[in-house]
Amino acid sequence: MEDQIMDGHNTSGPQASGRTENDTLFDAPPMAEQERMVEAVLFASAEPVTLRDLEGRMPPGCNPREALEHLRKRYEGRGVRVVRLGDAWAIRTAPDLGFLMQKETTELRKLSRAAIETLAIVAYHQPVTRTEIEEIRGVSVSRGTIDQLMEMDWIRLGRRRMTPGRPVTFVVTPDFLDHFGLESARDLPGLKELRAAGLLESRPPPGAFVMGQGDDGDEEPEEQAELFEE
């Protein structure tokens, strides 16, 4: 008891014990308040909480067992329940609503370097052909990388280029914009801005291209604009 109450400053013995007695004389918070406390702790804790742990956290004189009982009753029939797991307690979703929880089990994986680079090129240069991506990256782009990005619905096929062979082009999708918090791909900062933000350490090669217009100056801006409107 004493440790919880005391603020850590060790005062002399008799005084301290005197205070302990005083503290126990304070009224414990009302049960409704205790219930609130238990509710907040169970919610925020990463693990089921034991009664002892609750006692340790709550002000002196509290009765977490009783508060838990009230809370458990309150949640009966609700979307979540207060459940006992061994000697610990937790809030869990009602089993009949488990079907709603599917999204919680996604596994996060880091996108490969090839994929993120390819994605960046599509975002900055769209519409862009596979050959152009390879030219910019300086290495060939594996079929799998493009497939993966398309499967993730971050890039999709754009219009065919009106050049010999009529190659397909790639553009980014609304999902992509959504994921990266962009209003449009045109909002991506250019090299100059990246440098200003400290994301780029080196200086541009002479005559470096300026973002937006890209090195494929033959792209009509209308085409790009059009792509984003739909």
Partner: protein, 264 residues
């Protein structure tokens, strides 16, 4: 008057003088001239909307003067602001010149007052913002996220920074490529020296330096230039070593070389 409370050493208390010095010495602690002006404006003890920009300009100029006296290096921004305030001061003091173009002193002063008020407002706002109840300190999110159904969806994480950095990496790859000289058309001085040490013994008399150029380095101008330079530098080295001497009859005349080595 305001600047007096800051700087005059005659009738001020020790505390005031210390405060004034602290202000000056701590000039690095200010985030630029606007921040300094805001601090100075507090000595006026009035609402920022009723501030006397003229007094403020005087205070600032006095501050800059004092800093110079104390030989404190002031960043260029501070001096630019000082020049501007001096201009503003003159505009505020002199009767308006009807022939002069541009905004009046009052307009400029009003804008400065606006800038100060806006900066102060943002400072107050940021203080209020940071004093709010905050996630992870005052209120908390769910500690234990639930995963019920076992449907494994793989989500790939990549944020905007990753994307931009990847792009920056590709676009600047060239910058990081190690610098490689075009070795094909470069004849180094070492090579020239080597060659000449061999040849020197065989040439008894004055010989045109150009004749020392290696075969195949005469026609291509790039190669010829490099070989000539290297050979010339090598010949200087040989002269320095006392193995040869050089002569040139007049400006732009052919340079000639001969061996000094007695044994050859």
């Amino acid at each position: 008057m305001a600047e007096q409370t800051l700087f005059s050493e005659a009738d001020t208390t020790v505390e005031e003088r210390l405060a004034a010095e602290a202000l000056i010495v701590d000039v690095d602690g200010f985030e630029g001239p606007l921040d300094l002006l805001l601090t100075l404006s507090r000595t006026q003890k009035v609402d920022l909307r009723r501030i006397s920009v003229l007094d403020l300009a005087k205070q600032y100029l006095a501050f800059v003067e004092k800093a110079k006296e104390l030989r404190i290096e002031l960043a260029a921004d501070y001096l630019v602001m000082a020049a501007w305030l001096a201009f503003l001061k003159s505009r505020l003091l002199l009767p308006p010149d009807p022939t002069e173009e541009g905004p009046s002193g009052e307009e400029l002063a009003a804008h400065l007052a606006f800038q100060l008020e806006r900066l102060q407002a943002m400072r107050d706002a940021s203080a209020r913002l940071m004093a709010r109840d905050r996630l992870g300190r005052d209120f908390f999110a769910r500690g234990e996220e639930e995963s019920v159904a076992r449907i494994k969806t793989v989500t790939y994480s990549a944020n905007l920074l990753d994307l931009m950095q990847a792009y920056a990496r590709i676009r600047t790859k060239e910058d990081f490529r190690p610098f490689v000289m075009d070795r094909d058309s470069v004849f180094t001085m070492e090579e020239a020296l080597d060659r000449m040490r061999h040849l020197l013994g065989f040439t008894g008399d004055w010989t045109d330096l150009i004749s020392y150029l290696p075969d195949g380095w005469h026609s291509d101008p790039v190669k010829r230039r490099s070989a000539t330079a290297a050979t010339f530098a090598a010949s200087l080295q040989l002269v320095k070593e006392g193995k040869a001497e050089l002569r040139q009859s007049e400006t732009f005349a052919p340079i000639q070389l001969r061996s000094l080595d007695e044994e050859h």
